[in-house]
């Protein structure tokens, strides 16, 4: 496998990982947080430091995207000229 192909594979793996995280968050918000209009769990549940999973999960998806982007940039740093 050449360097560009390896980079593409890594990119698709990281993309799949983020899709799973984002999809889980959206599905928990839609199906796991409310029952008959009342907050029963999911994003309403406490995570840590008095914060709910809604706040932690939201910030986590934003910060997590940046961390994955940094990891990808680091691994792909040698593939400098891909044009």
């Amino acid at each position: 496998m050449n360097r560009r192909a390896r980079t593409r594979t890594l990119a698709l793996l990281l993309f799949t990982l983020y899709c799973v995280l984002y999809g889980t968050f959206v599905l928990v918000a839609a199906f796991g947080t409310f029952h008959e209009g009342k907050a029963t769990g999911g994003l309403a549940r406490g995570a840590f430091a008095g914060l709910s999973w809604g706040v932690v999960g939201g910030f986590g998806l934003i910060v997590g995207a940046f961390l994955l982007a940094l990891a990808y940039a680091f691994v792909a740093r040698d593939e400098e000229t891909g044009s």
């Binding site: 990281l14 983020y18 008959e36 709910s52």
Partner: protein, 591 residues
């Protein structure tokens, strides 16, 4: 509401916008060729391009719309922040590097790289124009919202000012000056919002002088002879929040109770801010309109914990409903936000301003860092506005500047100027994308007009003036809609029209030009038709009551992406399989 104008605010604003325009003229003198006009000669550094991504992307929807939505409804506005940022993952990992390798100036260039088809260029150019126009509307509405509190001018004047300024920027200089305007704006937006959040944390939460009683109802009626507030003509002394301020010492949006019976928290840390808010109660305002056109706002106390959960706004209320069909609006919008970013023509053309695919990748990472930092701040800004007694209940788009005003006219002026430049930066990118589609794709490649390099630039400048005029008209027409809501539509249409074509072109060797043309046409038309036939359009654009709109709507939910994106993929696969013999296979060099 009537806003007091400030000489300092106006002076800072005028100086800021003038400086941006002078910079634009100066940089514009360097770009004479088509390569310079459309793609800044491909010589923009990856860091500058990354921040310019932020300047391009953090539009009025992000700054004005999200802050307003969080301030009015809580967590629902933050869902836009999450979705808008998540979309960059698609851009970075799937689209960025291949699109840089395939394209030259426009999205149509990239899609057409394998096929050299006039039909494909035509469809791609039309999709670019439609999506850019959809995205332009909320930017112009945001501009109108800004000048009201800042300059005391009516909405249409703000829209016209942005239209004029942007047309000057794009018509004089193109991508070079647009890039630097976006770079400056992106930097300042993140920096100044960080300052506002630091001030919010320092201020903490506090109660109004007196608890707002449940009968503190506020009314407004627009009649042919003028606007009535509490049954009396609107004036500087009789505004929507005048009685509230006189009686309770606060305007709309305030803390009702704090944990442990405290009256004030003092400075709070970044995590404690949400912990304290979740344990507090907040006075929010429920709006209703009677058949005589009298709009009433009634105080409703809600817990902070509830406001930090989704489902409080009309857009996402289905989250709290147990029926699956009610949840589809939420699921569909979150899908559109995720897939839409990498399908926006004005974002994609920024990949042609850097020299190679590695620079495209690195600039996307920088962009994600800057954009992510801003979106983290939005939840602080929105909750800060929700509890600072500054909301204008008639217009959620004014929330961020009004919040800044609580820290003094100086910060208000700077924030307003940056917000105005925010609109300038994004609208410049959109008009440039549209002008490229007209001059480079339609006039030169589809209609085969004999345009040399300078001819293309001249045609693009004329197109940008026409697009600017169109954008002004639409901005005036859609004044009352929340800009985040409007941008949601643009993401739906972009994801439906462009994403199936982009992804399948990159990853499926049997994709044919007929498949791409069909998928883009079906995705574009289906998403537009869905939006137009939806309850949201009937209620928020055509003015029907919520009940009538729900009855008259031809589609079961308002956000189309969950249906129209798969429909685009399906169309592409079926048509491609049926047209294999017509397309000569070429290797996927871009991959």
């Amino acid at each position: 509401m009537i806003y007091e104008t400030s000489t300092l605010a106006i002076a800072v604003f005028v100086a800021f916008v003038t400086a941006v325009l002078i910079l634009s003229f100066w940089l514009g003198s360097r770009a004479k060729s088509a390569g310079g006009y459309f793609a800044a000669h491909g010589q923009v550094g990856w860091f500058v391009n990354g921040i310019a991504f932020a300047g391009d992307y953090l539009s009025a929807a992000s700054f004005l719309g999200i802050c307003g939505m969080i301030a009015f409804f809580g967590y629902d506005g933050f869902l836009y922040s999450i979705g808008f940022l998540a979309g960059w993952i698609v851009a970075l990992f799937v689209i960025a590097e291949p699109i840089k390798r395939m394209g030259k100036y426009t999205l149509a260039d990239a899609l057409n790289a394998r096929f050299q088809s006039r039909g494909l260029k035509l469809v791609a150019a039309i999709a670019t124009l439609v999506i850019s126009l959809f995205y332009l509307i909320p930017q112009m509405v945001g501009a109108g919202a800004l000048v009201k509190p800042l300059l005391g001018l009516p909405h249409w004047a703000g829209v016209a000012m942005v239209g004029a300024a942007v047309t000057v920027i794009v018509a004089t200089a193109g991508m070079v000056s647009t890039t630097w305007v976006q770079f400056i704006k992106g930097t300042l937006l993140v920096a100044v919002c960080t300052v506002v959040v630091a001030l919010l944390l320092e201020r903490g939460f506090s109660l109004p002088t007196k608890p707002i009683s449940s009968d503190a109802i506020q009314t407004l009626q627009v009649t042919p002879s003028g606007t009535l507030v509490h049954g009396q003509p609107l004036s500087k002394e009789n505004q929507l929040d005048s009685r509230l301020r006189a009686e309770f010492g606060t305007g709309f949006g305030s803390i009702a109770s704090l944990p442990d019976g405290a009256r004030s928290t003092g400075p709070l840390g970044p995590l404690a801010y949400f912990k304290v808010f979740a344990a507090s109660t907040v006075t929010t305002w429920k709006k209703s309109t009677d058949p005589n056109g009298v709009t009433t706002w009634s105080p409703v106390e809600r817990t902070g914990a509830d406001l930090l959960l989704p489902g409080a706004s009309p857009t996402f209320k289905g989250v709290r409903d147990d029926r699956l069909v009610a949840k589809l609006d939420f699921l569909s919008l979150m899908l559109a936000l995720f897939l839409g970013t990498a399908s926006l023509p004005h974002i994609l053309i920024r990949y042609y301003t850097v020299k190679d695919a590695a620079s495209a990748r690195k600039s996307t990472v920088v962009g994600i860092g800057a954009i992510g930092a801003f979106y983290v701040l939005t939840l602080y800004l929105g909750i800060g506005a929700m509890t600072s007694g500054v909301l204008d209940p008639t217009d959620s788009n004014m929330t961020a500047p009004l919040l800044a005003k609580t820290f003094g006219d100086g910060l208000f002026a700077v924030i307003s100027a940056i917000a105005f430049t925010t609109v300038l930066g994004t609208v410049s990118g959109l008009i440039l994308a549209g002008a490229g589609a007209v001059a480079h794709d339609l006039m030169r490649d589809v209609f085969r007009m004999n345009l040399d390099d300078r001819g293309q630039v001249r045609a693009a400048k004329i197109a940008s003036v026409a697009l600017g005029i169109g954008a002004v008209g639409l901005g005036i027409l859609f004044e009352k809609l929340n800009v985040s809501f409007l941008v949601g539509w643009a993401f739906n249409v972009a994801a439906s029209a462009n994403l199936p074509a982009l992804v399948m072109l990159l990853f499926w060797r049997r994709t044919t030009k007929e498949g791409i043309i069909a998928a883009m046409s079906v995705g574009l038309l289906a998403s537009l038709a869905w939006v137009l036939a939806s309850a949201d359009t009937l209620e928020k654009v055509l003015g029907y009551s919520a009940a009538d709109a729900a009855t008259m709507a031809l589609v079961p939910f308002s956000q189309p992406a969950i249906v129209t994106v798969p429909l685009g993929f399906l169309t592409l696969v079926v048509v491609s399989l049926c047209t294999q013999s017509t397309t000569r296979k070429k290797p996927h060099a871009a991959l």
